[in-house]
Symmetry: C2
Subunit: 330 residues, 2 copies
């Protein structure tokens, strides 16, 4: 298996990406193609005394920054991202991982690699730690305006992913909404509720309110990208705020610092369970080849997890399973 890694365009590029890739070669028995400024890549390897064994380097002279327009992936054919996408399209690698510009990755994946046959639009679908498990949000920002059939496809694709990659039996699909009754929400949500209810290929558990998201009331949360983005980031922000508050609580004085020592194991355990860096990135769901978007601010651990996620994505053959589902009658 060969994973294509875009080392440019992220907050900690390229150092973190190169180091994570070297670790992935060792631990995941995957081959890696590093794409980016060759001189920079070699600098990182030599500075960190890392071997380039099983690493293939493809030079790219240009880079898409976080500030660039998504369509710049077309206008910058020499950019690391455009080079990555062409490698993926041409079958020179099995999956792509990037921590760069989300919009450009999404647009590029759709334009260069294309959607799975029958899929109307790709979704940005991160997997989050919640109470007692993991939750995929589809969509979390790729599609601001949606139609019921799009949300239905997100539900189907998300179910296939969560079942195969995370091993969740019969994943529960919930529809984000402002109430439990099926008449709740905007026209889009009332209509989508009906469509999901009638779909025999998914395990639809009904509307899920905001409280149900952190409490893990479903495994796949279906919503439009505007709503999903706000839910995702409110949840992330709340996590950050509470973590800060707890840190301050323990750091307050010598007594509280002693207290922290008594619960060190518990703190570490909670931190590990709630740490997105352990999980990976967002799946670009619906593209005909595996594409993972890692956090823009990924550190080595987070980026390594994203590569591992790509490896699992490929080895579980989710794309062809989604493709089969797309052919089925609902």
């Amino acid at each position: 298996m060969k994973i294509i890694v875009d080392v440019m365009g992220a907050d900690n590029s390229p150092d973190v990406m190169v180091k994570a890739a070297v670790r992935a070669v060792k631990e995941l028995s995957a081959q890696i193609i590093l794409v980016g400024d060759e001189k920079e890549i070699n600098r990182v390897l030599s500075e960190n005394k890392l071997s380039s064994a099983d690493l293939q380097i493809v030079n790219a002279n240009d880079v898409i920054t976080m500030e660039d327009d998504p369509i710049s992936v077309r206008k910058k054919p020499e950019s690391s991202l455009a080079v990555c996408l062409n490698l993926l399209k041409n079958g020179e690698g099995d999956a792509l991982v990037s921590a760069g510009n989300s919009g450009a990755l999404l647009v590029g994946a759709t334009l260069f690699v294309r959607c799975i046959k029958g899929v109307r639009r790709a979704a940005m679908a991160p997997v989050m730690p919640v109470k007692n498990g993991m939750l995929m949000i589809a969509d979390s920002g790729a599609n601001i305006e949606c139609k019921p059939e799009m949300l239905e496809q997100f539900a189907v694709m998300g179910s296939v992913y969560m079942k195969n990659v995370l091993g969740i039996n019969n994943p529960r699909v919930g529809l984000a909404n402002n109430g439990a009754e099926e008449t709740k929400g905007t026209d889009l949500y009332v209509e989508t509720h009906k469509v999901l209810k009638e779909n025999k290929n998914i395990n639809f558990v009904g509307n899920v309110e905001g409280r149900g998201v952190p409490m893990g009331e479903c495994d796949v949360l279906v919503c439009d990208g505007f709503t999903g983005n706000l839910i995702l980031k409110t949840y992330e922000g709340a996590g950050k705020m509470f973590a800060d508050e707890i840190k301050n609580m323990f750091k307050k004085n010598i007594i509280s610092k002693i207290g922290a020592l008594f619960v060190l194991g518990g703190i570490k355990d909670l931190k590990k369970r709630m740490d997105y860096k352990e999980i990976g990135g967002a799946v670009i769901l619906g593209i005909s080849k595996p594409v993972i978007k890692a956090h823009g601010s990924s550190d080595e651990k987070a980026f390594f997890s994203a590569i591992r996620q790509a490896v699992n994505f490929v080895s579980t053959d989710v794309i062809s399973k989604i493709s089969d589902e797309m052919g089925k009658e609902a």
Copy 2:
């Protein structure tokens, strides 16, 4: 000042409401009109050996339940809520507090008491504890479909409330969105961004992403009711989840229980700051008289806080200040 209290229709009705009202009479120097089943009210007073001094009791034979349709406020004229609304409308009290059916309260307030002149639609606007302060979300569920002019009015009314009742100088208004750029979001949000930017009577700080909500990046968050409800409840759910996790961490074993003793002060302090029960309920913003919706599951403390909030709402004369703003050019 006279506060009308609906004691029926909530999870802990009427016991909690009656007890909170007696406390409010003592501590807030407010007169209270209790509305509900007179026998039940007298039972609570006698069981708890409470004095009925400064309490006026108005009997109501019917009740609107949580399951009733909002419009039932019309169909049940004998219900405690309908009686409350008529008392408010007729000037027999200065404000209304209810922990019952939100939809019925909103519809009833609009139909019986009416909106402030010039206000298109009332908003359900809770005040939440966030990092370093308080945040009002307007709307959080009253208006599923909105127009830019409605969101603009929520911004203006929310600013007046936060300035006068919470004493926040020049409250920062943020527009919920999936990105910081002014071109982000659905058509409604792109259009609303323009309108808010041009309004000279508010302190618009631009789009606020989900992460900015718990981090307190604004004092008034403006959004449609569908989005606001999901943001509010995701945040509440995250708070509940983290609180549970921390409790479990401390309860794990004898060592961790000892640890908890060392940070007891910090835990209490955090709990107090994050406790919605200390704050009150949601303001029904835009109604021509003060109406507060307390949590359906309010305990005595929460319901007392809601009465206190109503007292502050009246004493700061926010309604006539909103009324003045409605007459101003934007």
